[in-house]
């Protein structure tokens, strides 16, 4: 049952990445035309635009969701590649542990960074 669960979350994470990475691409490459997310300057990575986006709760939320989805999607794929090398059960258990702990650690650190950036931006 675990493989059914992991595969389903892998697919769902891919959909989340599609939406939020699509949003990122739109902001970075199309917003000169759209003018929705970059109010301060036509250049998307201008300081004023970065601060304006970081102030909004939506972008903090999107950074954290995208981070979680990308980490899960990537690490699950990496786990599949590792398992296709034919490791023994002990190595599989160790790989599961390292990837889970490592992924959670990276998620907590990244989520904290996104939250802190939002908090900092709102003080400016």
């Amino acid at each position: 049952m675990r493989d059914q669960r992991l595969w389903t979350w892998h697919v769902l994470a891919g959909l989340v990445i599609l939406v939020f990475l699509g949003l990122h691409m739109a902001i970075m490459h199309l917003d000169v035309l759209l003018g929705i997310f970059n109010p301060g300057d036509p250049h998307p990575i201008a300081w004023a635009n970065v601060v304006a986006r970081a102030k909004t709760g939506f972008f903090t939320f999107s950074y954290i969701v995208l981070l979680g989805a990308a980490l899960f999607h990537g690490l699950y794929g990496f786990r599949n590649i590792l398992f296709e090398l034919g490791p023994g059960p002990g190595v599989k258990r160790a790989a599961n542990l390292v990837l889970t702990v490592g992924g959670l650690g990276l998620f907590v650190f990244g989520a904290w960074a996104a939250w802190a950036a939002g908090t900092l931006a709102r003080t400016l």
């Binding site: 059914q4 595969w7 296709e84």
Partner: protein
């Protein structure tokens, strides 16, 4: 291709009794009209190498015994004409991804073990009706179409030999067992999806399929195991999300009591025996 005058068979020989690694042996035969690879092997066994071992039975692409690795592709030896290979050099080896028992005989037991584990038979709750039928399970042509092509599988193992995931992952059930599992899941008379899910939802299920599609390319009967595996993945994802509900197995209907012959269908010829 025009038929060659002579055909050289490069055969991979292996005898476990000698403790020697497998080795190639060349035998050249005159080409005969309509010669298949299996015909060549039979001639070699009769005239040149009496100890050569392989499996074959029906000689007409039905039994699935003579799957071999011929000129780099898994094929049925009885179904492969020499002329269609486009060369006078025919390399014949046992199917890859299986252990070798002897010469061209692969050990297919892992494939059939995986096949049996996926319960390739109709599963219903009304077992009394199954074994002592009072009628027929209703199935319309559209329902039949959902699984018909998968019934053409002859379990030759060519798809397993072509699969890159079977080559690397011993836990993966492989295209034949998975396609046969789908064959019964898709059968409107069957109610065994949740029983089979106990195996399909684990690492033996369809998850490791890369969709290389080699299984479907290799199948000598035109079955599309790759399609079955992708459909199964989708069903299992929807099942996890509580969005998939297997239809109730079809109901029992009374046997027809009166048969009316269609006017445009001629009578069958009289029995000769």
């Amino acid at each position: 291709m025009t038929a060659p005058a002579n055909v050289t068979f490069r055969i991979r020989r292996y005898d476990p009794a000698t403790q020697q690694p497998p080795a190639w042996e060349d035998v050249t035969l005159p080409y005969t009209h309509g010669m298949t690879v299996l015909d060549g092997l039979r001639t070699i066994k009769e005239t040149r190498a009496a100890t050569l071992a392989w499996r074959s039975s029906c000689r007409m692409g039905v039994c699935g015994s003579c799957g071999m690795f011929i000129n780099g592709h898994p094929r049925l030896a009885c179904n492969t004409q020499i002329t269609e290979l486009g060369t006078s050099l025919v390399t014949v080896a046992p199917l890859p991804n299986f252990a070798i028992i002897r010469d061209l005989v692969p050990d297919l037991r892992p494939m059939f073990d995986a096949h049996a584990a996926l319960m390739p038979h109709i599963i219903r709750e009304d077992t009394t009706e199954m074994y002592e039928p009072t009628g027929e399970y209703f199935q319309n042509p559209h329902e039949l179409e959902q699984f018909l092509q998968f019934t053409y599988c002859i379990k030759c193992g060519c798809c397993m030999a072509a699969c890159p995931t079977v080559a690397t992952d011993p836990a993966y059930s492989g295209p034949m067992p998975l396609a046969q599992s789908h064959r019964y899941n898709a059968d409107s008379r069957d109610g065994g999806f949740h029983a089979r899910k106990q195996v399909l939802a684990t690492e033996r299920g369809p998850w490791k399929c890369h969709y290389a599609g080699e299984c479907s390319q290799a199948c000598p009967k035109g079955v599309d195991p790759a399609r079955a595996i992708q459909i199964m993945k989708r069903q299992l994802v929807f099942d996890y999300l509580r969005l998939y509900k297997q239809p109730c197995p079809s109901k029992v209907v009374a046997k027809p009591t009166e048969i009316k012959r269609r006017a445009d269908v001629p009578e069958a010829p009289a029995a000769t025996i």
